[in-house]
């Protein structure tokens, strides 16, 4: 499914995803729910917007009491690099807890 179509087909998502984070406050979840009783909430991440800073991983670990040094995370961010010859290299050091800071792939 194309990203456009996907967004169109989920009207509520468009409202949430296409505006900047601070504008999210304008949406009152209760109002939306009243208008669409069948609504089921989802979680949408625009991977283009992700810069690989890993703050989400760090915050998630702290928020959920996940041992910080242990190599486990509830959420993590993977990095995929598609080379010109079609090879795909990927890495995910420590689940990206400290972000992606080098060009070197693990």
């Amino acid at each position: 499914m194309k990203r456009r179509n996907f967004l169109k087909s989920t009207a509520v998502f468009v409202a949430g995803a296409s505006v900047s984070v601070s504008a999210l406050d304008f949406i009152d979840p209760k109002e939306i729910l009243a208008a669409n009783p069948e609504l089921r909430w989802g979680f949408l991440v625009d991977t283009h917007k992700c810069v690989g800073c890993g703050f989400c991983v760090k915050a998630c670990k702290i928020e959920n009491d996940i041992p910080f040094e242990a190599n486990v995370t509830r959420t993590w961010v993977e990095r995929y690099v598609i080379k010109k010859d079609g090879d795909v290299v990927m890495d995910c050091p420590k689940g990206a807890r400290d972000g992606y800071t080098t060009k070197l792939i693990d």
């Binding site: 041992p67 242990a70 190599n71 995370t73 993590w76 990927m90 890495d91 420590k94 689940g95």
Partner: protein
């Protein structure tokens, strides 16, 4: 608080070796205890099927081993749950899964399946031993000064008898019929109990090695195989012990002698029973083995032929990473070698027993290859993980999920069986029982 949390162990980190691209959360979570779980349920189901061969299909020759297999299956039963409890990091939450059964999660049916089966085995044992129980109550009741054991046994028997003291011929006949019915219902339920273990694996869509509808059937066949093999081996060992005890007049060590004081059997008699039962059982072992091997081969060929997307990673695991374990240990030593040994003419008791030991090993390797092998490749299909069985424990976690926990699970049924034997003597001859 933060420091305390930081010291927490990561379940799986101690024994997982990662290779290439593996997701950060991926470890070999399902360790030796999850290998033991289908193995032990398999033994339970297999032992029950062996006993049913006599009770339902009337294979008279299996009479002696059938009663033994039934009691042993009951002793194995609580142990089927033990690996799961040992595996849980929060064992006290295990009850939640039993208390909230539903049909959208395979493991949630565990309580129902397990309890149904446990009830059936218990009821069958009750009918088989009812006459003995009633007689024991009379016998123990007559004794003036009871020793410690008899003091425990008498009220116990009174409770177990459920107050039915009728041992007229008519009542015994009803018992007999009931045994037959219970054993009849028991076979499908035993198969279900174990097919269910296979179902849990087979329904894991995310795991390429497990995802096959054949899984429950494969599990059932190898379960019956391993159950019969274990009965042969343990029956042989127990009979050896009894012979040893009979020869040296140390029968008082035996549990049924302790409790009932009459385990004085002659050595020759024991030997002939032992030989007879072991050989006949091994015949049935071959039948079920053929079935099990065929199915496993079929599964392998099917995967190779259809070669779905995950086959590349699977093939790597099957033919390279786990080649020794699958083809040498499981099929070679665990299947074909004992198969030949059993088919070779002039079968001796000892050869049958050695073959059965190999079969047990083979089935164990099969469980290992399914459970551990299934986790050998990362969900990314671009990396591998290797499980290293913790042998020397350095904390409780590595003990219970390592060699120590495994041995504990293996030893427990025998301990339970020893004490169960005081209540339901599995080795008494027919004149002593009904």
């Amino acid at each position: 608080m933060v420091e305390q949390v930081a010291q927490m162990i990561v379940h799986g980190e101690a024994w997982t070796v990662k290779d290439l691209f593996v997701l950060p959360n991926e470890y070999v979570y399902w360790s030796i205890q999850i290998v033991m779980y289908p193995y032990m349920t398999g033994l339970v189901a297999g032992a029950f099927v062996l006993s049913s061969l006599y009770h339902v299909f009337g294979v008279e020759k299996l009479k002696a081993i059938a009663r033994y297999a039934l009691v042993f299956s009951f002793a194995l039963l609580p142990v089927a749950m033990m690996p799961l409890m040992l595996h849980l990091s929060q064992p006290f939450r295990g009850i939640n899964v039993l208390m909230t059964p539903h049909f959208t999660s395979a493991i949630s049916a565990f309580g129902i399946v397990f309890m149904t089966y446990a009830c059936i085995v218990a009821v069958e044992i009750w009918f088989v031993y009812r006459k003995f129980i009633v007689e024991s109550i009379h016998r123990l009741g007559k004794i003036q000064s009871r020793n410690f054991l008899e003091k425990i046994l008498l009220p116990l028997y009174k409770v177990i008898s459920l107050g039915s003291m009728d041992i007229s011929d008519k009542a015994l006949q009803a018992d007999h019929k009931a045994v037959k019915i219970m054993a009849g219902i028991g076979i499908p339920v035993a198969c279900f109990l174990h097919g269910y273990a296979g179902f849990i694996f087979g329904s894991v869509k995310a795991n390429a090695l497990w995802m096959t509808p054949l899984m429950p059937v494969i599990f059932i066949c190898s379960a019956v195989v391993s159950g019969i093999a274990l009965c042969i081996v343990s029956y042989y060992i127990f009979m050896e012990m009894r012979k040893w005890a009979a020869k040296r007049g140390k029968s008082w060590l035996l549990p049924d002698a302790m409790a009932h004081g009459n385990a004085t059997m002659r050595v020759e008699e024991l030997r002939s029973v032992q030989e007879h039962e072991v050989k006949i059982s091994s015949k049935y072992l071959i039948i079920f083995m053929t079935l099990a091997i065929t199915l496993e081969m079929l599964d392998m060929i099917f995967r190779g032929y259809t070669a779905v997307k995950s086959w590349d990673a699977l093939r790597m695991v099957i033919y390279e990473h786990d080649f020794m374990k699958i083809f040498v240990y499981q099929y070679g030593i665990g299947n074909f070698l004992p198969f030949l040994m059993l088919l070779w003419p002039g079968l001796t008791t000892r050869r049958a027993v050695i073959a059965s030991v190999l079969v047990l090993f083979g089935v164990f390797m099969m469980r290992w290859n399914v459970v551990i092998g299934g986790q050998a490749f990362s969900l990314t299909f671009a990396g591998f993980m290797e499980y290293q069985l913790p042998i020397i424990p350095h904390n409780f976690e590595t003990f219970k999920e390592g060699l120590g926990g495994m041995l504990a699970v293996i030893v427990t049924p025998f301990i339970i069986f020893y004490f169960l034997n005081m209540i339901f003597p599995a080795f008494m001859s027919d004149d002593e029982l009904h």
